[in-house]
């Protein structure tokens, strides 16, 4: 079994409801920032230094 499969087996034993809820809480501040960033990126030109 590969290292990645071992890690997946290990993580599969987590309570997935608790995992999903905790993951969402942990990324919420970043998601809020990303919402603003996505709007800013729509108005930018990545090839013209803006």
């Amino acid at each position: 079994m590969t290292v990645a499969q071992n890690k997946a087996e290990q993580m599969r034993k987590l309570d997935m409801t608790a995992f999903a809820a905790t993951k969402m809480k942990s990324v919420r501040p970043l998601l809020d920032k990303l919402q603003l960033a996505v709007e800013a990126d729509k108005k930018s030109n990545i090839f013209q230094g803006t």
């Binding site: 290292v3 890690k7 990324v27 970043l30 990126d41 930018s44 990545i46 090839f47």
Partner: protein, 182 residues
């Protein structure tokens, strides 16, 4: 569709593999295929192992599309950004088995995942946007700022440093490094 993504499932673990025979560039088709594979894993409630081909995890966005004008660039950036957010919020663990180089958007995918396993050797990880004349999108900067270790943030984002596996581990791209078969 180009059939560059395969999905296999065993005992609650999905393995999603990119292999376009080249550098696994993230085109619209590749992202569509990846989303379809992640749909299957999400519907089955599976832990995901996300990997690439031998020596090449992914080179980032398809540069041929990035040269097709602002409208197509923004559309691809939006699709890639949505894919990053999907991994960030995916309800089951996403483990990247980083089979080789991971550059630009691919490096953001690593930072969006729950655990990343790299391999020893001459493998490159980084965000080379500035080096190739692109301004880093704000969304990419926010993801990097949230997950890279502080000393590496400016080195990776502003200075476009390309990192060895050991340095990528210190920077926060990787969480462990193993011998090439991962």
């Amino acid at each position: 569709m180009t059939n560059s993504v395969t999905y296999t499932s065993t005992n609650g673990i999905a393995t999603i593999t990119m292999d376009d025979g080249k550098v696994n560039a993230l085109s619209n088709d590749m992202l569509d295929e990846l989303n379809a594979a992640f749909d299957k894993a999400e519907n089955a409630g599976e832990v995901v192992i996300f990997t690439g081909r031998t020596s090449m995890f992914c080179a980032g966005f398809d540069l041929s599309i990035m040269m097709q004008g602002q409208e197509k660039v923004l559309a691809l950036l939006a699709k890639g950004g949505a894919f990053s957010r999907r991994i960030l919020t995916f309800p089951t663990p996403v483990i990247c088995a980083v089979s080789g180089h991971a550059m630009a958007m691919a490096a953001l995918v690593l930072l969006s995942s729950d655990y990343c396993i790299g391999i020893e050797g001459k493998v490159k990880t980084g965000m080379n946007e500035v080096a190739i004349g692109m301004t880093m999108p704000q969304a990419g900067i926010e993801i990097a700022n949230a997950h890279l270790t502080a000393p590496f943030f400016r080195r990776v984002i502003n200075n476009a440093e390309v990192l060895s596996p050991e340095t990528a581990l210190a920077a926060g791209f990787l969480h462990s490094i193993v011998a090439p078969k991962i």
